[in-house]
Amino acid sequence: MGLARAMLQLLVGQALNGVIVGTLYGIIALGVTLTFGITGIVNFALGEFMMIGAYVTWYLFDIVGLPYPIAVLPAVAVAAGCGFAADQLLFRFTRNNLINGLLVSIGLISIVEATALLLWTTTPKDMGYVLSGAFRLGAVSVPKMKIVVFALLAAVMFLTYASLSRTWIGRAAYAFSQNPEAAMLMGVKTEILQSGVVVYSTALAGFGGALYASLYSLEPAMGGLYILKGVEAAILGGIGSLIGSLAGGIILGVTEAIGSIYLPSAFRDAYGLVFVVAILLYQPSGLFGTER
């Protein structure tokens, strides 16, 4: 009985943890799905904008000494500014060209990562506790900061969803993703829309990075892992679906956490991938995706 209870607590604790970690995957997935829907490219460099947001937050919080909420805002702005520069200098020449966009984003990863190495070296940066302590219920323990991160990420994702479904800009974006020519004829300023979506996606990634910095140590290569999870989550949830991005991220997070309890944790990343493959076999367009 005691063992069963302990196991149940372990499961509940890790399911909660998986949900929280999954929202971090989800925010990147949201950026992936938005960028792909509007510009026709998969921006693999989104992980680097997450890294930028994380490092700027660390710098402003730990080195400059700004309060964390104030440090997050410029971090998101810097990530968005870098996103704008990348769009104007690079991505605007690769619109609707999947291969070129992919190559450019991979090149951008090298440049951003090398710059981060020059600026901050490879020494892991472990930001001080923003909010210490954990909520405990029996043996279930969830750090308070993880709860805050989850709440903020979920709020941003639902706000994004609401904006896209209830505002003129959102409807314009949907229209453009379905039929670009028709949207243009209806007065949608496509260049501004496409650049805006790229910048917003990088801002989302920067926001994810700023929250990530409050939980984990930073290193210049951190973006690589998260963009892979983000793409996985976007595919699992269905490319083009905003709710699917969140759901995909959470499913990945929970699968990895629960899988690590019953199976060797050395294959943690594989558990999520197996789930993706299994879902895609039955639902090729992803859980919430629609056939294109």
């Binding site: 490879t122 472990d126 954990a134 405990r136 210049p220 892992l225 309890i261």
Partner: protein
Amino acid sequence: MRQLIWLAILALIASPVAAQNVVKIGQIEAQTGANAIYGYMSSQGLALAVDQVNKAGGFKVGDKTYTIELIASDTRGDPKEASIQLKRLLETDGVKFVFGPFLSNVFVTIEPYAKQFNGKFLLMGGATRIHDFLGTPDHDFLLRTWNWDAGPKGFGNLMVDRLVKETGAKKIAMLFQNDQGGKVLVDIYTPLFKQKGIEAQLELFEPGTKDFSAVLAKLAAAHPDYLFPSYSDAHLYDIVRQATEGNYFRKFFLVRGSLGPGLKNKDEIDDYFVYVPKYFEQAEKTDPKVAKFVADYKAFYKRDFPYDQAPLCSSSCYDHLFMLIEAMKKAGSVDDVAKIRKELLSMTYEGLWKIRFDDRGEEIFNFDVVRMKRGGQIDVTGVDAQ
């Protein structure tokens, strides 16, 4: 005019002769990447030593004065990259002395290629897997520049012994990266714990993992006394933080990595039992050589001294260049690798560390064992391994 032309021709002929008075030193270490903590300090310390030697006008062997050209490559911890760099160093640059690697996964990949050049160069690396090849046929080129863990005088053996005697630990949870570095620690420490009557449980994690909550919860469910985590600071910062925050573990035992993660979480830990090649914060106050090194580092790189990473300068780094130069002087040659190796094996060098090699070519140096208690209270025990 004709004299001037002849002088110019002579100068042109003479210049390659001058260029020959250069000893090329290669280095293959991960200066960047997730496991760069091991190569970063080695590359920093070696570059500093090269600068000091060259600024002092070089060194004399016989009647010739030599300067050093350092060809330091960043492997990024990638074995393929390291293979290409080693090939370039040996076949294009004609390097006879290579420093590194510290990472075992890099070493096992370059080893089959490197042994084809046995007798033609020396490779001085800290990789744990080098131990397995020392003294075997076709591996005279190898020198291992770090203390060995196991065996009667092994530092790991001593650490486990102290753990048992000082804490009475009966059960330990090992959490390592699923790579060569992690597996070699499993191979070494599982029998060591068994010998001392400690029950060990093991979990491996994927490189790049950031959230360890699930695996920590799983390990903690068996109520071990200590957590023996990873080998790289890139993971240790996260593991120690998440282990204490989630109340999974508050006692840690480490034989790789730095004191940094423990210090960062000093108010949350109960015990942080760690092997540190040198506790620089203390040594700087008591040893003039260490104080000079710290000052020289700050002046050369114009940045703060990385106290947490500096202990890893114990491998293929600052001291080893000066040691190599001493060996060249004694051998009376800068390219007879057999003679130079022989001199290296027969000498004891007193630099930042007191260093000597055993007859197989494995280094033995003095080190520190640090125990940190809650609040950051530190107890340092120096060990003279000689």
